[in-house]
Amino acid sequence: MKKIEAIIRHFKLEDVKNALSEHGIQGMTITEVRGFGRQKGHTEMYRGTEYAVDFVPKVKVEVVVPNAGVQKAIDTIMRAAQTGQIGDGKIFVVSLDETVRIRTGETGEEAI
């Protein structure tokens, strides 16, 4: 089992969500986040001069998938979230020890 955390452009959320559910991924967690990567935050081009503004608003999508489905999930997110411009975001894959469904007590991949 892996947890996939994708930081994406906020307006790509609908696309990513739809693409993931088309590929059979049923649950996901969404968080509104702020941050920056190599993009160094928000830069405003104004008449050729840049000035830094602040952290950039992004959306974090978290999904948990069985090992076999990791590559497909990554591809799906990438295809849906790409614009080709700086600031498209990142995908992190994290190993997961355990998953428990609270209502039934099911564990492991059953509980995803």
Binding site: R9, H10, F11, E14, E32, V33, R34, Y46, R47, G48, T49, Y51, D54, P57, T83, Q85, G87
Partner: protein, 885 residues
């Protein structure tokens, strides 16, 4: 050894009786028996069970004599006889002092037996004195005992208790009422303060059964009567209020019975699943615009809303005698126009004022407007008079009434609470009839927390709170001139809900009707209709579209049309989201919205005033001064910097700004300075022109003409008028004759032409050259160009009238627009010209020749028409030219 459960025969019998009785009543309920009858029958059933066990206990314990010293008393809801199938029952064993020893075994046995039958019991054993003492200390006990009923045993003991309790309650009526109200308020806070909570608790939420009980308790304390029927006979409750309470009580009791029977246990929460089920049980069919569940909940909200108001009113009317504050009021208040008295916290109508208020909407609005102006609450008695008069009000609006309403809408302090009050009193419907439809209209989705009317009122409230918001929303809201227009748009924005058609379209019609009713000007009507019709536009773009795409932002800016409308839409969008429910609008969302707002404002107003903080600008000016170094012209630099707009200051490095100012500082009156430079990174040529206003009238259009004459395409332009009439213009142009850097000779030639154009006598019109180059022929545009538009905004700037011109790009366009403005006798002080693919967004800050804003509607209309005609003419000529070639 196995434990054999032993249960007394009497208990087994009682238990069977209870189960059977309940089942029988369930069937009766299902057949449609009124809630009050089923509840009464349930109370009878419980009584029978309790009495049977009580008598069996007395017989078994051999203490029939205890009947002389003990009274079995039902209290709380059970005392009142309105019990639901699985309600708790409250019992008190009341005994005379000194009989403790006899009573103890009886009490033990009763508790055990009743528990075994499956009833949920609240029990106590007290003497009359103890009971009264506890009631004194604890409001909950007190209210519960106010509903006492003797079930069995000694009438003497019970009578002793009742007399003492009644005396005590009425003796300290004032304090007790306050305590009861407070306890109820706390409970309501916990279970939902507004009636319009979408998952209410039928007992505890506002307007629920508990509020009907509150009325009984207050009635008991104040009048010694707790039954609505008796209160009505006493005149403490008006027939209408009595009727509202009766209807709501019947509805709620039956509803709660249904919920208990269905759940098979005590269950009072009206959650979404239960709402859906009940809408079906109650046979709501739905119609084109409303789901069955929405109809059901509207019924629920209407009734509980009624309860909530009747009870508030009843409490206010029951407050004992005139208090010191009221005696002293005349000393601390003043009379207003002989109709109203304005006190420290309240405004009240006197006899003369009350007479005026009756049946006259204008007077009611006058009062509301005054209350808003002085930031006072409208007194209770005055509210009552208005409520009574409301149904008889005509829904024809006179000019004066409309003006009063608009004046009220323009002031933030109490606006939302006054509007809410007017809605509750039934006055708002008379002004905006569409508000009647929205009353108690539930929106059955996971998103909205309030009914439509409450949502709209809340949106207005939130907008007025932006007055003290430290962020971008506050600074935009505070600058809005026509706040009333924003408030009105918020009040109307969702009223189109609950019809089959898209709510924005219905909303547009409502906005149009309302504008007509209120007699708004054409311009105001247009803005209002736009805001209501497009209230979802900005949220949609900001959260669903790539706002770093400049083309999208330009299209958005063009659709919104003016800086003022853009600012209003920004505030409206935020207030709308925030009014959906707690936590919906957060810092993250504000940031996303503010970003789009700022980008769009750059196109509409040349800058985003709200987001350039003063501190930032100060730092920037200091940096430029530092670059300029120490010189005798320091004061001059400072003066010019103060005039430079924020976008300009922030848009380039301080060293460049310092160098530019240095050039300008040596200019004399009558001089013209023109500089040109090719910019590698953008592939455009930048021309800067410095001169003084006095050199010639219409500087801007002449420069634009010179550039067009030389066959240059103007990509963007900024013009600034600085201190002492110093003009500093900057043009970014594309030279179609040269793919890369043009030779210096060409740049010099253009500079000369720029200087010449200002020195030449007026009247020579430049010829526009037809440009030959690859891609110069206009391809059928991928995006249909939007129609040419000219918008006027007199609100955003203190000193200038702002013209926004949207048109498809063509050679000579800027010259044509600038000349048209010049010929209309306007002076352009600031301009920002932007070309985005084939769409041009031009912003002009203009004044008339006297340096004043142009406010005359007729004049503005004329200027607009001239501009449109000029652009059309250019278009026609271009078409002719194309045919010729």
């Amino acid at each position: 050894m196995s434990v054999v459960p032993v249960m007394r025969a009497s208990v087994v019998a009682a238990r069977e009786r209870l189960v059977e009785g309940r089942e029988k009543l369930r069937r009766r309920h299902a057949k449609g028996s009124p809630g009050i009858q089923v509840s009464g029958a349930l109370a009878d059933l419980f009584d029978a069970v309790v009495l049977e066990l009580f008598e069996a206990a007395l017989a078994d314990l051999g203490s029939e004599a205890a009947g002389e010293t003990v009274a079995l008393v039902a209290h709380g809801g059970y005392g009142r006889r309105d019990v639901a199938p699985f309600s708790d029952i409250d019992l008190m064993l009341l005994h005379s002092a000194g009989a403790e020893r006899q009573v103890a075994p009886l009490a033990q046995r009763m508790v055990r037996d009743l528990f075994d039958t499956g009833l949920v019991l609240g029990q106590s054993v007290r003497t009359p004195a103890q009971a009264c003492q506890l009631a004194r200390k604890d409001t909950t006990i007190c209210t519960s005992l106010a509903e006492s009923r003797l079930l069995a045993g000694s009438e003497t003991v019970y009578g002793r208790f009742l007399r003492r309790f009644r005396r005590q309650s009425q003796h300290r009526a004032g304090g007790l009422m306050a305590a009861i109200e407070l306890a109820r308020r706390k409970e309501r806070l916990q279970y939902g303060e507004t009636v319009y909570l979408l998952e209410p608790n039928v007992k505890r939420s506002r307007g629920g059964l508990r509020d009907i009980q509150l009325l009984r308790w207050i009635g008991f304390v104040r009048f010694g009567l707790n039954d609505p029927d008796s209160l009505r006979l006493q005149g403490a409750l008006t027939p209408e209020d009595h009727d509202a309470i009766r209807r709501a009580q019947e509805f709620l009791l039956r509803l709660r019975n249904e919920m208990h029977f269905h759940a098979g246990k005590s269950y009072d929460l009206l959650d979404r699943a239960e709402q859906l089920r009940l809408a079906e049980v109650y046979g709501f069919k739905g119609d084109a615009g409303l789901l069955p569940v929405e109809q059901f909940m509207r019924e629920y909200f209407r009734l509980t809303d009624g309860v909530s108001h009747v009870v508030q009113r009843f409490i206010a009317n029951s407050r004992p005698g005139p208090r010191w504050g009221e005696w002293l009021a005349p000393l601390f208040s003043h009379q207003f126009e002989r109709d109203f008295r304005i006190g420290p916290t309240q405004i009240n109508a006197n006899a003369r004022g009350l007479a005026k208020l009756k049946g006259d909407l204008e007077q009611i609005l006058r009062l509301a407007d005054l209350a808003n102006l002085y930031d006072k609450q409208i007194g209770h008695a005055t509210c009552e008079a208005i409520r009574a008069a409301a149904p008889g009000l005509s829904d024809q609006l006179s000019r004066r009434t409309a003006d009063r309403f608009l004046s009220l809408m323009s002031r933030p302090p109490r606006l939302a609470s006054l509007l809410r009050g007017m809605h509750e009193m039934g006055v708002l419907d008379k002004i905006i009839p569409a508000f009647g439809h929205a009353r108690c209209l539930l929106q059955f989705n996971e998103y909205h927390k309030y009914t439509v009317d409450e949502h709209c009122l809340r949106a207005v409230e939130i907008a007025t709170q932006f007055q003290s918001d430290p962020g971008p929303l506050g600074s935009v809201y505070r600058r809005l001139r026509r706040k009333w227009l924003l408030h009105l748009a918020l009040l109307l924005h969702d009223l189109g809900k609950g019809y089959a058609e898209d709510h924005s379209e219905v909303g547009l019609r409502i906005a149009r009707e309302t504008s007509q009713r209120l007699g708004l000007s054409e311009d105001d009507t247009e803005t209002l209709c736009f805001l209501v019709h497009k209230h979802l536009l900005m949220a949609h773009l900001a959260f669903r579209r790539d706002t770093s795409d400049n083309q999208l932002v330009v299209r958005f800016a063009v659709e919104v049309g003016s800086p003022e409308a853009m600012q209003m839409l920004f505030v409206l969008t935020a207030a709308d989201m925030s009014a959906v429910g707690p936590g919906v609008l957060n810092a993250w969302k504000i940031e996303v919205l503010a970003d789009l707002h700022r980008r769009a404002m750059q196109h509409l107003a040349g800058e985003a005033p709200a987001l350039a903080s003063e501190e930032w600008l100060r730092d920037r000016r200091a940096a430029v001064l530092a670059c300029a170094g120490a010189s005798d012209r320091h004061a001059w630099f400072e003066k010019q910097l103060a005039e430079l707009p924020a976008s300009y200051l922030l848009g380039r490095p301080p060293s460049e700004l310092a160098a530019e100012l240095d050039h300008l500082s040596s200019l004399e009156h009558g001089d013209v300075l023109a500089l040109g430079r090719y910019q590698e990174e953008t592939g455009a040529i930048e021309f800067k022109v410095g001169t003084f206003e006095s050199v010639t009238p219409g500087v801007f259009h002449k420069l634009a003409g010179a550039l067009a004459h030389k066959g240059l395409q103007i990509l963007s332009a900024e013009i600034h008028t600085l201190a002492d009439g110093l003009i500093f213009d900057r043009f970014y142009v594309h030279d179609p004759d040269f793919a890369a850097a043009p030779p210096q000779g060409r740049i010099d030639e253009v500079c000369r032409a720029l200087v010449e154009s200002l020195r030449q006598p007026a009247g020579t019109q430049p010829l526009f050259r037809r440009v030959w180059r690859a891609g110069a022929e206009r391809k059928p545009a991928a995006l249909t160009p939007l129609p040419t538009q000219v918008r006027v905004d007199n609100s955003t700037s203190n000193r200038y009238t702002i013209f926004d011109v949207f048109a498809a790009d063509r050679m000579g366009l800027l010259f044509t627009i600038a000349r048209s403005l010049f010929q209309s006798g306007l002076s352009v002080s600031v301009a920002k010209i932007g070309t985005y693919l084939d769409q041009v967004v031009d912003v002009f800050y203009v004044t008339d020749q006297a340096g004043q804003k142009v406010c005359d509607e007729g004049r503005l209309k004329e200027i607009r028409q001239q501009l449109l005609a000029a652009i059309e003419e250019l278009e026609r000529q271009e078409a002719l030219q194309n045919v010729g070639w």
